[in-house]
């Protein structure tokens, strides 16, 4: 009876794992396969589709734009998010929970609504669309991740060591640099990487706020709308490797386990 139940749970676990991972595994698999239709039989192994992708000038433009957006968004999210998380850690839990509920609203709503609100706002102000409108639009849904993760660490922070440092005459900046930062640095970097992964993968907000330009996800969208382009699997694989790789490093640094 117990053994039977355990076997059923194991089968369930295996099925879930296949369901979760097989779409991603197949994209990477077909990016390395000769068959241009991405169907079975796959044919031999090849790097041909990566070659096609790297010969495409659009790819390098999109990669450059994605890099600019992701790095800027990561840097600003880190600063704004950490400052906010530290301020919240020193506030009462009531105020902190209120601010967190407010500031995480952008990640709870369907991105289409925010995307259209931003696009309508920019167009009414006559602002030209481009990377300068994409970056602030990303910040609003990346900073909550930094705030949540850093706040979670700061909530368990031993404030007595900060007080001791102050009693010994250290100023605020010295305390931050020599006492707080060394302790929270892994969490801070991890949280920033999460924000960068979210920014790098964003399609909907970017699509409506970039105007004519292109990032890696909007390039995927363009390829999906045209006739079959087998190098899409190569591009998809690169985006997957970048976002999953970033997330794995972030998980390791923050020791976040759900």
């Amino acid at each position: 009876m117990a053994a039977k139940a355990q076997a059923a749970w194991t089968a369930f676990g295996a099925a879930v794992l296949v369901f979760m991972l097989s779409p991603l595994v197949l994209v990477v698999f077909f990016s390395l396969a000769e068959n241009a239709n991405a169907t079975f039989p796959p044919g031999g192994a090849t790097l041909h589709w990566y070659g096609v992708l790297f010969d495409n000038a659009d790819f390098w433009k999109a990669l450059g734009n994605s890099a600019i957006v992701t790095l800027s968004v990561g840097l600003v999210s880190m600063i704004a998010g950490t400052l906010a998380a530290m301020a919240l850690a020193r506030s009462g839990p009531k105020l902190a929970n209120g601010v967190i509920a407010l500031i995480t609203l952008p990640i709870m709503l369907p991105p289409l609504v925010l995307a259209l609100a931003l696009a309508t706002g920019y167009s009414s102000l006559g602002l030209p669309l481009g990377l300068s409108t994409v970056i602030p639009s990303h910040l609003v849904f990346t900073q909550p991740f930094v705030i949540l993760v850093v706040y979670a660490q700061m909530a368990g922070f031993n404030m007595a060591i900060v007080d001791s440092a102050r009693d010994l005459g250290a100023g605020s900046w010295t305390i931050f640099r020599t006492v707080i930062l060394p302790i929270i640095r892994p969490t801070l970097i991890g949280a920033t990487l999460m924000a960068m992964a979210v920014s790098l993968d964003d399609f909907i907000i970017t699509y409506f706020t970039i105007g004519g330009g292109m990032t890696l996800p909007t390039m995927i969208w363009g390829m999906l709308r045209k006739a079959l382009d087998p190098s899409i699997n190569a591009l998809g694989s690169l985006v997957l490797v970048a976002t999953i790789g970033t997330s794995l490093i972030a998980l390791r640094l923050t020791r976040y386990r759900g």
Binding site: F12, P23, L112, T120, G258
Partner: protein, 285 residues
């Protein structure tokens, strides 16, 4: 120089709140105002009319109802599945538990578009799902309704939302203390009785968080129905996008967007009430 603690807190929150105010609160408020405006010669013109809402109720109520039903199906399947997985990780700690958790965390932030088009490839007549079913001898011919159907939208969005639903539920299950479970077991309660009467009531809050997210995001999605839904599966997000981009009618698109958010809010309040009633702890009786 010494700042008062309150001022220091205020300064720390300023950048984040400024970003939130300028790029979320303000545009959303503006979009709400625009729902009362109209379009004259392709330009937004200030006005105070309810005609956009009247048009939404006249033309899009059917699409809205269809979208809410699909989103509800997705949210229910996702929450139930996520609970079962979280239960596996928390109480069974089998071989797959930790691998599933790691996979969920690693794929949480990546590949929204890639996941959708991967399902498009997998669910087609030549796709790997049909191929697998044929090779297993379960079917003779490819199932044609797997792709370009509401079923495809449900499968794709359940897959996308699953990691997001799993994490809050797992956090909720980790908060369930061991002592009452052991007591119930010692008194002869069956696992399903323990789950129903002790575990589920204690993670009501996290179940609702997971359900809300798995409902709201699909309810406003337009990319998934566009890519895998086919011509029959138009969800409200498709109409909103078309009103803004195709028909350049921002006021009506905005009115449809806010009507959708309001309808979602009503569904969630109802769900919260039902969940509270269904999962009231039973040990007091």
């Amino acid at each position: 120089m010494s700042l008062s603690p309150a001022l220091r807190r205020g300064l720390g929150l300023t950048p984040a709140l400024t970003i939130f105010g300028l790029f979320f609160a303000l545009p959303m408020a503006y979009l709400l105002v625009v729902t009362f405006w109209r379009i004259k010669r392709y330009r937004l013109t200030p006005d105070f009319t309810l005609s956009n809402y009247a048009d939404v109720f006249g033309d899009y109520l059917h699409a809205l109802g269809f979208t809410l039903v699909i989103a509800l199906v997705i949210a229910l399947i996702t929450t139930a599945l996520a609970f079962a997985i979280a239960y596996l990780i928390r109480f069974r700690s089998g071989l797959f538990g930790q691998i599933i958790l790691l996979s969920a965390l690693a794929t949480l932030f990546g590949g929204y578009l890639v996941k959708i088009y991967a399902w498009k490839a997998m669910l087609g007549a030549q796709g790997s799902v049909n191929l697998l079913l044929i090779n297993l001898g379960l079917i003779d011919e490819p199932i044609s309704w797997l792709l370009y159907s509401p079923a495809a939208v449900v499968i794709t969005l359940v897959h996308f939302m699953l990691p997001f639903a799993l994490l809050p539920i797992l956090a909720g299950l980790r908060g369930v203390s061991e002592a009452p479970l052991e007591a119930a077991r010692d008194l002869g309660a069956k696992p399903w009785q323990i789950t129903r009467d002790i575990v589920l009531p204690q993670c009501r809050g996290s179940l609702f968080s997971a359900f809300s997210l798995a409902f709201l995001i699909p309810a406003g999605d337009y990319v998934t129905p566009r890519l895998v839904g086919g011509p029959e599966t138009f969800m409200v997000g498709n109409f909103i996008e078309n009103l803004f981009v195709g028909r350049m009618n921002a006021p009506m698109g905005a009115a449809l967007a806010f009507t959708t958010l309001l309808a979602c809010g009503i569904v969630l309040v109802t769900a919260h009430w039902l969940l509270g009633r269904a999962l009231t702890p039973k040990w007091g009786r």
